[in-house]
């Protein structure tokens, strides 16, 4: 089998990349999706709030996905469902498998990685205690409730204040469960401010910052959870324990880009994001392999995923039509002083688009600070931000014109400074 472009993953990133590639002149496209329908995790996100930036209205997850799916169908883009990509070779041969075609290979001219992310599990968090039923990642509980229609618990404690956990606090409450508390290890929430307000405050669910689960009781099903406050070293402080009689623990402690395929193919990954290292065209260390969405770095809003994926699709189309463009110069973006990483990491001034959005997250909560951008040692811009938090993505916009004024710089620094 041969396709110009293979897109691994039919969630919001894969869909937007496919649409953009088609609109930029590529006809031979295949989307490979492991689940039974297109749309990815959006299908289980039945709450609203999606698409404010893209469509200027509040959509549910399935509605947002369906608009992109409709565009894919209109364009006649091919896709395979219930199909697992087993391997991506460095020469862009994709091996995949499903029940009807068996195991098959596709020679692709370009690949877009759009596999999304997974949730950090109880095991990875090393929470001591028993291992009974009733411990779910928030996303698994969300699938059970919203897709399958089953209630995984009656009395619930949530560890971690990631967005899915906050959403599930509200969701479980609306379906008749009692959510007793949300504990967050860090002194700040990992989720969006609006979710704290709408999902916890509005339902009188307490949020305990700087708290963690120190014990899980119950041999077959969860019977109780003990949380405790943690000190600055994140170790539990004796005497601060709070015990809850409950049957369920939901975990919302971070998302990890699913890059096993990327890694096996030889794509270089960032230790900070766990996603591929990319340049301004979202191309990875392997020529013709692009990445976008949560497999690249975990996003807060799906709108940004769609924007990013649109760029990846467009750039993949360019690559297929014109081949790899060699740049004389590549500038590295250095994230320092509170900026944890940037996507992209490298910029090629002569090849970049006229405007480029650099996205990143900060390492802690900052109040009354500013995002400063330096070309070499020269301060180029300083933008005040009343509040910045690790749960929300930040951005800096760079233009080709700006960079043209500084032809000699070798790096760009983005950092958090006093306002």
């Amino acid at each position: 089998m041969k396709y110009d472009l293979v897109i691994v993953g039919g969630g919001p990133a894969g869909l937007a990349a496919a649409i953009a590639a088609k609109d930029n002149g590529i006809d031979s496209i295949l989307i490979i999706e492991r689940d039974r329908e297109l749309g990815g995790i959006l299908n289980q996100c039945i709450h609203n709030g999606f698409g404010l930036h893209t469509f200027k209205e509040e959509l549910t997850g399935p509605e947002y996905a369906s608009r992109f799916i409709a565009q894919v169908l209109e364009r006649g883009i091919e896709y395979k469902l219930n199909t697992m990509v087993m391997d991506i070779a460095p020469d862009k041969t994709v091996t995949a498998m499903n029940a009807t075609d068996g195991m098959f290979t596709i020679e692709a001219k370009a690949i877009v990685l759009a596999m999304g992310c997974r949730e950090r599990s109880r095991g990875a968090l090393n929470i001591p205690g028993y291992r009974p039923a009733g411990i779910f990642s928030a996303g698994t509980a969300q699938r059970l409730v919203n897709i399958e229609g089953y209630m995984p618990g009656r009395r619930v404690v949530i560890l971690g204040s990631g967005d899915i956990g906050l959403i599930m606090a509200r969701r479980m409450t609306l379906e008749g469960a009692k959510v007793l508390a949300v504990a967050e290890l860090m002194p700040y929430s990992g989720g969006l401010k609006r979710n704290i307000v709408q999902c916890l405050n509005d339902f009188d669910i307490p949020l305990y910052l700087s708290h963690t689960v120190i014990d899980i009781q119950g041999k077959e099903r969860v019977e109780g959870i003990t949380i405790a406050e943690v000190g600055p070293d994140r170790k539990p402080i004796p005497g601060t324990e709070i015990h809850y009689d409950c049957d369920t623990l939901l975990l919302s402690c971070g998302l990890i880009p699913e890059n096993e395929l990327s890694k096996n193919s030889g794509v270089e990954l960032s230790p900070i994001t766990s996603g591929p290292i990319v340049n301004d065209s979202l191309e990875t260390s392997i020529e013709g392999v692009f990445a976008c969405g949560n497999v690249l770095h975990v996003h807060d809003l799906v709108d940004y995923v769609s924007q990013e994926a649109t760029n990846a699709g467009k750039n993949a189309a360019k690559y297929i039509l014109n081949g790899e463009q060699k740049a004389a110069k590549q500038i590295e973006i250095l994230p320092v002083d509170g900026v944890r990483y940037t996507v992209p990491k490298y910029i090629r001034p002569e090849l970049m688009d006229d405007q480029l959005t650099v996205r990143f997250r900060v390492g802690q909560v900052y109040k009354g600070c500013a995002i400063a951008t330096y070309f070499g040692d020269t301060l180029i811009s300083k933008r005040k931000r009343p509040v910045m938090a690790p749960g929300e993505m930040e951005e800096v916009k760079l233009t080709k014109a700006q960079l043209a004024e500084y032809p000699d710089i070798t790096n760009i620094t983005i950092k958090i400074e006093e306002a």
Binding site: N98, P132, A133, Y150, M151, P152, E175, G176
Partner: protein, 477 residues
């Protein structure tokens, strides 16, 4: 009336059952839990010891070496993963190298083949990640790793296929002696058997003490472990033990047959024979201790932690054989480490004793061959496509982390002593055992169990009757 009833379907009880099936016998295994391999057998170091550690002349020494010898053929006959990766007991510069010599000497007396002591240079060529302080090690090439789930299930399935009856979810509450047989009361039926084999793990003392004045005392010795991602699986290739010291027996670092890295165990005597919880102190101590033998163990890649209980009899050795004052009551008790390694040999010895007691004839129809669950990853692409054509479920990946297909899960459910819970599917196929720890695949596996067993979604459990996953439909709980 059964000829013999075995209490406990762990690796010991299952090995005994299979060996007994080589005789013409009416035998049953009575197991408290919903699946075989659900106690000590499922939570241990997953290694087959070479046999240098036990005191010469003890049951532990004899049965370990014999069990180790038996594993190659057994793994072929019963189709379970087994790998002779060799083991090293490392000695650091602060430790007494004479202790290594003593181990070597014990090993020779026990009949362990090919033992030798290696210096640092030879060691580094074998294991570049050994700690900087390691100066010498005892190398045992016959040390091995095994999948304890598959070993136990293979033994049990093969026993069942040869006519041994298994009663799961059946908890023995009382054993008493009648004139020429035993009466075994359970939470369900009452069983009668001419002979009883006590393979009840941490509870073996309780059952022995119901019929014998030679009291046993079994202490639950907890061992906590951390299992690391397959990315860390090649950090070491041999099983690395620490020299036993005043500070305790130390922890081992070993690859598993499935390619993960395992670090553990702790050793804590506890009162609760159900205390399979991990503790913050225990897990922290593993991290600190393992660095004494292996450097830079990537503990950030832990995917799960667990604890198991060793059945430690206070006199230190396995308790093997007929209770003196209870004819026909055979103990396989105190089976702590090296119990997994010894299990096939324990089976042999106990079955022989029972056969002699009951004057059993050999069973000419015994078929000792069992096929494991097919792993399509071991097939060529052509073979795999043939398989998918015939059985499309083998083309449908359910567990994305371990790449486990629906076909394998169907096999796990429909074979002898088939899986009835998420954990039972997991132990048989590895679905849910990978880095996401069943986050993505558990709803799919639940659907398959619901459809195939068939059973109500509300009766699907993680492991055991009260381990329910979902309570009801939305808004109806």
């Amino acid at each position: 009336m059964y000829d013999v009833a075995i209490v406990g379907a762990g690796v010991t009880g299952s090995a005994i059952a299979r060996e007994l099936a080589k005789y013409k016998v009416n035998a049953c295994v009575i197991e408290r839990d919903e699946d075989v391999c659900n106690g000590t057998s499922k939570a241990n170091s997953a290694i087959v010891h070479a046999g240098f550690d036990a005191t010469p002349g003890t049951w532990k020494a004899k049965l370990n070496v014999r069990g180790n010898e038996m594993m190659d053929q057994l793994s072929k006959d019963l189709d379970f993963p087994f790998q002779r990766n060799g083991s090293l007991v490392v000695c650091t510069k602060d430790q007494d190298p004479a202790l290594l010599d003593a181990l070597l000497e014990k090993g020779k007396q026990n009949g362990v083949p090919d033992l030798r002591i290696l210096d640092r240079e030879e060691l580094l060529a074998m294991e570049p990640n050994l700690a900087d302080d390691v100066v010498k090690a005892l190398y045992a090439p016959t040390g091995a790793i095994v999948c304890p789930f598959h070993l136990t299930m293979a033994l049990a399935e093969n026993a069942a296929d040869n006519g041994v009856e298994f009663f799961l979810n059946t908890e023995v509450t009382e054993i008493s002696k009648a004139d020429d047989h035993y009466i075994i009361k359970t939470n369900k039926d009452t069983f009668e058997a001419k002979a009883v084999v006590n393979a009840a793990g941490v509870y073996a003392d309780k059952f022995n003490n119901m019929v014998s004045e030679h009291k046993l005392e079994i202490v639950a010795r907890r061992g906590q472990y951390m299992l690391l991602d397959k990315d860390a699986g090649s950090h070491v290739s041999h099983t690395i033990f620490q020299l036993p010291s005043k500070m305790g027996k130390g922890v081992l670092v070993t690859p598993t047959v499935h390619g993960n890295l395992l670090v553990g165990p702790t050793a804590e005597d506890i009162d609760d024979k159900e205390g399979i919880n991990t503790t913050a102190e225990g897990l922290d101590s593993l991290g600190a201790t393992c660095s004494q033998s292996v450097k830079n163990v990537p503990l950030r890649q832990v995917i799960t932690s667990f604890a198991g209980l060793r059945a430690h009899e206070v006199n230190g050795d396995f308790v093997i054989g007929e209770a003196e004052d209870a004819k026909g009551f055979f103990n396989a008790a105190g089976i702590e480490s090296p119990g997994l390694s010894s299990a096939p040999a324990i089976g042999e010895v106990i079955a022989k004793m029972v056969a002699d007691y009951l004057s059993l004839a050999t069973n000419p129809e015994f078929n000792g061959i069992r096929k494991g669950i097919l792993n399509p990853a071991n097939l060529s692409v052509e073979e795999r496509n043939e398989l998918i054509k015939k059985q499309p479920a083998y083309g449908n990946i359910i567990c994305r982390c371990e790449m486990i297909t629906e076909g394998e899960i169907l096999d796990a459910i429909h074979r002898t002593l088939g899986a009835r819970s998420l954990d039972a599917v997991k132990r048989r196929t590895r679905a849910g055992m990978g880095r996401c720890q069943a986050g993505f695949c558990s709803p799919k596996t639940m659907e398959i169990l619901e459809r195939e067993v068939p059973m109500s979604m509300f009766d699907v459990t993680k492991n055991g009757p009260d381990a329910k996953i979902v309570y009801g439909y939305n808004k109806k709980i």
